[in-house]
Amino acid sequence: MNSRLSFAHAAIALAIAAFLALFLVVPVITVVYVAFTNSDGSLTLSHFFSFFHLTLMREAFYNSLYVGGMSVLISSIIALPLAYFTVRFQFRGAILIQTLGVLPLIMPPFVGAAAMQLLFGRSGSVNLLLNEWFGFSIPFMDGLNGVIFVEALHYFPFILLNLVAALANIDSAMEESAQNLGASGWRLFRRIVFPLAMPGYLAGAALVFLKVFDDVGTPLVLNVTNILAAQAYLRITSIGIDDPIGYVASVIMVIAAVVALWGSTWVMRGRDYATLQRGGSSLARRRLKPWQALWAYGWIVLVLLVVLAPHLGILLLSFSKVWSYSILPDTYTLDNYVTVFRDSSGMMVNTLLYCGIAAGLDVILGIAIAYLILRTKLPARQWLDFIATAAIAIPGVVLGIGYLRTFKDFQLPFTDEPFTAFWLIIAIAYTVRRLPYALRSCMAALQQLHVSLEEAAENLGATKNRTIYRVVVPLMAGGILAGFVTSFLTAAVELSATIMLVTAQSDAPMSYGIYLYMQSIAGRGPGAALGVIAVITVGLGTYFSNRLIRNHAASRDAQLLKTGV
């Protein structure tokens, strides 16, 4: 590597580090320093000892680990068949299934939990039916298991998206050679396909784990408080007490996130999973035998039914006037949509703008960090990854307060407006909070890409930049798309930082509007309607970007066919 190049790399790395320092590290430290100090400002570690002295906190910690681990397991059971069947077999509606499979991510937190309660709760449709017919009910939504149930249904798309990208990147010869040696079916999957898709799977699984470990919304809606994130949140937001234990819990969550992340990279250490011929041999989608197809479709339909139940629930809710202790709503109406369109069309535009900016920045930062880590030898480059990913463990409230505190005296140039009142700060908060998603996807995609493909381009006279632009990025397209989509979708439903940072209703995004409507005693119909609109808008976006990538891939395959093989 020549020195000018490594200078450029270092400059980019420093720019990213500066961005992370300004918008993540400093704001968070201005808040969580509480965990290390007395109110007179003197440093102390005593709060940490106090924290570990609490049985409740240890319990909460183990509960968080359990919920995280189990959610990964259940998410995998849902996502693996969806990904495998649709990528590796001739499957009608594969794109549709993959798109539908992503929908749960767009479920805004309040709406999703409300819809799940209406369907699976103690007086939900399913239990009312069970009770009517069989005289018993199932506590789907109770306690830790309820949290696992809801979290797995909500976050399995992280695994699905990354796995689909990883599976599509596996050279089909890898699979064929195993078949040739006698492997088929489950064994083929377990021994060859799954291990080869491991970078993608781990990326997804790590995200699910981190997300569930740090999620506060779902447990609180289900009234589960004995987990770490809930304890941190409850203590930080309790009024009037300057309670350092909540901040200690936050710091410990950040550490746990970094450790989990480091663990997943440690598993992959020293392994070169790049398949040389990306798309080298056109992917032969196998045909399913009729009985296999029956099983596969049966399973997928069942999974999709459960997974999309909340969407069905909010759809019903959005058209309902009153839905109370009944299997279906009593009366139906279009009023909720009229209300929403009258009051909140600006929010839709805001959501698209903020999330577009955030996801765009996330992807750019994600590619840059992934490239610096996997393709350069810069010292301490791994820290960019750790710091960026630690964002996932920062409670939104903490980040929001941190921004308000850090940029308090910062004026926008040419105006007397404070920076904290400028809407861009919301988009930046989204960028920082959702960067870990895009980053994991970009890392997995680049990991699967063999360096020789880049060397070939450079050999043909392309500069580093041109190579990244013309070879790396297009070949990473699947992973980048997955990253963009997850960042975008999850930013669209971000609430905790949003609530802190909205300074004018005209700047509010949809998630704020949903929160507002869901607080209404007159029923959650308008909130559900806004939720449905959010799901449709973002879902359509996902579907079309998926199709775009597919068509691109299909035309490339067709060309390969023409030129030989």
Binding site: D171, A173, M174, E176, S177, A178, Q179, N180, L181, G182, A183, S184, R187, L188, R191, I192, P195, L196, M198, R271, D272, Y273, A274, T275, L276, Q277, G280, A284, R287, L561, K562, T563, G564, V565
Partner: protein, 365 residues
Amino acid sequence: METGHKTDTGVSVDIRNISLSYGKTPVLRDVTLAIKPGEFFALLGPSGSGKSTLLRLIAGFNQCQSGTLHVGGTDITNIPPWNRNIGMVFQNYALWPHMTVDQNVAFGLEERRLPRTEIARKVAAALELVGLADFGSRRPNQLSGGQQQRVAVARTIAIEPKLLLLDEPLSNLDAQLRLHMRVELLALQRKLGITTLFVTHDQEEALSISDRVAVLDGGVIQQVGTPMDLYDRPASAFIANFVGTINVISGTVTATSSGAIFESPLLGRVPLPAAVATSGSAQVAFRPHTLSLAPPEGQTAPGTIRIAGTIAGREFLGEFIRYNIAVQGNHLIADQPHYSGNIEFLPGSAINVGLDPTQLTLLPT
């Protein structure tokens, strides 16, 4: 030999009337081919000729729309790849990066649920056979190209397949290694006696090691024969050109009682050694090294037809020099052995070309 093959254990392969198309693009058209037990058989053709498709079809990765496939007398047309027991070595080796060399080689044996000790024994034997006995604990990305290729071969022969398929097995190796490996492959095949089918686009590779060769083009089998058959009696101008370098002259042929006469402006009237069924326009072909060259004042060899021309260009190829000679608006290619003291012709100089009529091959039209 540990893997247990005897020369008489090779199986026959019977490909009957197989057609295959991707969508509307036909890739194989009515292909019929019989391969004898123990044969080292090459599928030769340019890229896009359908040779790899045919190989993958035999392995079970492609499904034909019509026709049948028999291996060792058994119809396997509808058997899935994992039940065929046909070994295949992939062009890029397809070694699994998440497994060590040992694990790669053991994979097929594990799928066959062999006892652990037997697997260990067979893995060791297979690696021994390819000369990689000490490499078992490495990962594929720690091996050189040639070593990876040997692992791929070891992995395949470890399962003792009844038929071995090689997809461009040498194309990813450097020239030196390629020569070495092809000799090794042949020796291995002879040792195991296993029927082997290999796909290549390199005519030299095909001619040098295979017992018989089938030439494919456009999804159709053009000719099947021993390397010498193909070389000496190509069935078409395409084969003649694809299998070595050749000169082709157009003219007319007339059947006579004793044989045939070929006539063209360049050659005049030339009697042909073989009889023909019909008269009409025809082509004759002859190899560059059958031509003799002489300076304009010198004589060509007795019994040859003398053609005057000019040297248009030359290539030094080590064992011989290849001259491109302009003759009456046509070009001929002539190879002259190179040894010290031999006369060298410079571009631009006039020359006499001697053509031995017995070396002419009449190409079917």
